[in-house]
Amino acid sequence: MECLRYGECGIRIIFGRTIDKDINNRVINFYRSLKLKRIAGIIDITPSFNTCLIEFDSTVIDFKSLIDIIKGFDVDTTYPKDLAPKEIEIPVRYGGEYGPDMEFVSQWTGLSFEEIVEIHTSTVYTVYTIGFIPGFPYLGTLDKRLFVLRLKTPRTCVPAGSVGLAQLQTGIYPFESPGGWQIIGRTDMVLFDYNKPPYSILQNGDRVKFIPV
């Protein structure tokens, strides 16, 4: 674990240099423990694949004091029941109007529609991180056979609920948004509700399984 400074009010905690389940697991354990501690002066915590960003208010706590707290801090890997990672099933309609890039993915990978669905639905994915837009889960790790690159020219508008592929990840657009992932299906499940805590159905570290409908 390496602590690096980022801007006047940021600390990057580096847990590794690659996208890896174990590294991400350490990030998420650290983030959950830190969040539960409610340290005064911490404004926001952003866990991601291999790092955790902490933003602090420098009028409340300074960089050195915060680093001391973090370095002497025991990461608790046991969770209160309501905070334990959940396993969530997400129903998806694959292909056709719901998956405009299915044909490309099929050509690129040499797999049939049925094989793509079979492979995509047979992994239990981990929510490695959430972001770029609210509630967007970066799920991994995708089966290597479904590796595809992002679109060369991102779409200006991807419908809410779209399920996409990008490199060794799969993800879901909770909102209509511009985007460059290869879209293979769509879910009706509402992933983000700004009126109802915890707002995002999926939390960092949760497990996701897609169910074809």
Binding site: Y6, C9, D44, L53, G131, F132, I133, G135, P198, S200
Partner: protein
């Protein structure tokens, strides 16, 4: 109650930001010029954190359906309240039935309008601010439009207040932004770093017309990556003011609408100069000036102290 007669180029409800949810991808979406935002609340007798309107462009026009005090901060504007001219950075009393109109924006880009009462805006995830991309917060998650009515409660009398001119930063181009080294600075050649950070105050970049409230794109010499380095990083948490270099080498300054980023970060705009980002408009010149983190930290703490002193209720 106020009525939007004309929303100008774009007007949205903002506040000090939606914090504590970056772990689920929710950005702060705060007012871009925080000093001006705090000042407009001070001028209208509101607590810090109250909702205000952030606008760009002239033509904004608002009708007052009851008597209240309002103020404009941020960009220097020429406005009229019925027939009487007014300008930015002081409180103005509006009578019931009065109409205010912004005729011209003289210096700066974004301006903030506050009112002496509690705005009837719903608090979503701890904030009044608008997340335009995902259509929540503010007024139904969208920019204000003609005919919108905004209700107020607790309208309070406010004495004449103003901000002294010396306390208001220049918003005229070229803009000098002090910057500190970013996490991926070693991805770039020495020559590129030398050119980017520079030694003299040379005009290096202009603001692209493709800029928006998510990011400011700069145009100029592309920043060169070292040979063989990856041009992107594994996406991770990103802070406002970060300067990213995408594959084409053209810098992008991240504003307040993203929590993760996947491009190499050469630098960050020092927090002391981040309010100025609200006033970078297309075609403006930008000068970048490298300072070290300790200096940036001290400047930021001093700035916050001086703002606190300036906006103290007497």
């Amino acid at each position: 109650m106020i009525e939007i007669i004309n929303p100008g180029l774009q007007s949205i409800i903002v506040d000090s930001g939606r914090y504590g949810f970056s772990d689920i991808g929710v950005p702060r979406s705060s007012a871009l010029d925080i000093f001006s935002y705090k000042a407009v609340n001070f001028l209208t007798g509101n607590e810090d954190g109250s909702p205000v309107i952030e606008s760009i462009g002239a033509m904004l026009s608002i009708k007052f359906h009851e008597e209240m005090v309002f103020a404009v901060t941020g960009a220097w504007v020429e406005g009229v309240l019925d027939e009487t001219p007014f300008t930015s950075w002081r409180s103005i009393k509006a009578k019931k039935g009065s109409i205010m109109k912004i005729k011209k924006v003289n210096s700066g880009f974004r301006y903030y309008i506050g009112f002496s009462g509690k705005m009837g805006i719903e608090c979503i995830m701890g904030s009044y601010t608008t997340n335009l991309e995902c259509s929540f917060g503010g007024l139904d998650g969208r920019p204000l439009k003609k005919g919108d009515l905004i209700r107020f409660s607790n309208i309070i009398p406010v004495d004449d207040r103003f901000i002294i001119k010396d306390a208001i930063p220049s918003m005229d181009p070229p803009h000098t932004l002090r910057i500190i080294d970013g996490p991926e600075i070693e991805y770039f050649t020495d020559d590129a770093i030398e050119k980017f950070f520079g030694k003299k105050d040379l005009l290096r970049y202009t603001v692209s017309t493709k800029s928006n409230r998510i990011g400011i794109r700069l145009e100029g010499n592309p920043v060169e990556f070292k040979e063989g380095v990856e041009k992107s990083i594994i996406s991770e948490g990103i802070l406002p003011g970060t300067i990213q270099i995408p594959g084409d080498g053209m810098p992008v300054i991240v504003l307040n609408e993203r929590t993760l980023g996947g491009y190499a970060r050469i630098a960050s705009v020092a927090k002391v100069d981040q309010d100025l980002l609200a006033h970078l408009k297309p075609k403006d010149g930008v000068i970048l000036k490298r300072i070290d983190i300790e200096e940036a930290e001290t400047l930021w703490i001093l700035k916050q102290k001086s703002i606190k002193n300036l906006l103290k209720n007497k």
